[in-house]
């Protein structure tokens, strides 16, 4: 977020401010570890996300809002572990001797949930300055907003939250069959070909369904789906490319904020020609 997804962060802070909500960064936050540990006997990797939650509790805040889908998943799962597993909770609290005890008091939510549940689509529509007319956008959820069930922000197999947001912004959502398929994730290092193929499956499906851009909320998905397009084009010559956008960039745009906050120059695939062609920039 701080180094490779400033476009996500800056547009999120600005558009939430436009809605009257100030996002305060957690002091002394640390990397959550990106992936949740799935092993029952591996407690050491739960420390990082739990420490972040402790930082939130220290602020006497009841809720932490997460932008990155991977961080959201890791923090929410670690939080449930601290709530529901008394034995592991005790071990972890004893291990983190100098920290205050943590029992899962904080609530972990994704920014999309705040938009839907706390603000509401109606308020967002009312705030529109620049409706995103004639813009065909494919919502891409990926994995970690939806799975496993206990952390899902929406129906696992039939999510609609991004579609609803795009509708509120006046855009035309394009549901496509690969919206919740894995982008290849970290395999881009260990199994590059497989990761590229996964990304291609998603991108080609979106193109087939006539989307003009994909909308997402995860810097890792963005790297695979947009950052790797030049490599995908080498393999699939017919592929012309398709931009990706963070949902927060669309919020800022639709609220009529200075487009500088969107930091479009940082997008792997420049969305500006498309947005200009629709008269949105």
């Amino acid at each position: 977020m701080k180094t490779r997804a400033k476009n996500f962060e800056d547009s999120a802070i600005a558009s939430m401010a436009a809605l009257g909500i100030n996002l305060n960064e957690i002091p002394r936050w640390n990397c959550c570890g990106a992936v949740y540990s799935l092993a029952d006997d591996d407690l050491i990797h739960q420390l990082a996300p739990v420490r972040d939650l402790i930082r939130v509790k220290e602020q006497e805040q009841g809720k932490v809002v997460v932008l990155c889908s991977l961080c959201f998943n890791t923090l929410k799962r670690a939080n449930l572990l601290m709530r529901n597993d008394a034995e592991k909770r005790k071990t972890l609290n004893i291990f983190m001797d100098e920290e205050i005890d943590y029992n899962g008091e904080v609530e972990v939510v994704h920014l999309l949930e705040v938009l839907r549940d706390d603000i509401g689509w109606k308020t967002i529509s009312d705030r529109l300055k620049v409706p995103l007319k004639n813009l065909k956008l494919a919502p891409y959820y990926g994995c970690t907003l939806l799975r496993p069930q206990e952390v899902a922000i929406d129906q696992v197999e039939r999510p609609t939250i991004l579609r609803q947001l795009l509708q509120a912004l006046g855009a035309e959502p394009i549901d496509f069959p690969f919206a919740a398929k894995c982008c290849g994730s970290f395999q881009v290092i260990g199994n590059r070909e497989v990761a590229l193929e996964s990304a291609w499956n998603i991108l080609s499906s979106a193109v087939r369904w006539q989307a003009e851009a994909l909308v997402l909320s995860c810097p890792l998905c963005d790297f695979n789906l947009a950052g790797k397009q030049e490599e995908i084009k080498q393999k699939y010559r017919e592929f012309k490319g398709i931009p990706t956008l963070y949902f927060t960039q669309l919020l800022a745009l639709a609220f009529g904020l200075d487009s500088k906050v969107c930091r479009f120059e940082l997008n792997y695939q420049d969305p500006r020609p498309l947005l200009e062609s629709k008269g949105l920039l």
């Binding site: 990106a34 992936v35 799975r147 496993p148 894995c182 290092i189 260990g190 199994n191 497989v194 890792l220």
Partner: protein, 135 residues
């Protein structure tokens, strides 16, 4: 594929170790194939997820070690949410990777990533890849 099964292997340490690390009951699986049907990476796998589970049931550690499947799984959790028996396959896959990684055998070698590639890879990719593919 010719598979040799023996009661020693079935009741051996391997299946017990997988159960201990994953806390999943491997015997829940009745081989319906739902996991493999939905797996987005199945196209690249030499053994499908349901086949891996059966090999665990039979205690055939060597056959799993020869396959690339557990290293291709990206923990997307699709199989786990769809399994009609409630088996969390992603936890089983993680346990299988850890059994190998805990012998200090890395799947990827961070030192071999070129400087040029390192400069381009976001931290989120590096951290998640090292977490899943190195000891």
């Amino acid at each position: 594929m010719r598979v040799e099964i023996s009661s020693e292997k079935i009741s051996g340490d391997f299946a017990k170790k997988v159960k201990e690390i994953s806390r999943e009951d491997i015997l829940l699986c009745y081989q319906c194939g739902m996991c493999s049907a939905g797996c987005p990476i199945a196209f690249a796998m030499d053994l499908l997820p349901n086949q891996i589970i059966q090999l665990v049931q039979l205690g055939l550690e060597e056959d799993i070690a020869k396959s690339k499947t557990i290293w291709l799984c990206a923990s997307c959790i699709t199989c786990s949410v769809r399994c009609p028996r409630g088996l969390d396959l992603c936890k089983v896959m993680e346990a299988l990777r850890l059994i190998s990684l805990r012998k200090n055998i890395d799947y990827i070698r961070p030192a071999e990533i070129s400087r040029d590639a390192l400069a381009k890879l976001p931290q989120i990719v590096l951290v998640s890849s090292f977490r899943k593919h190195t000891a």
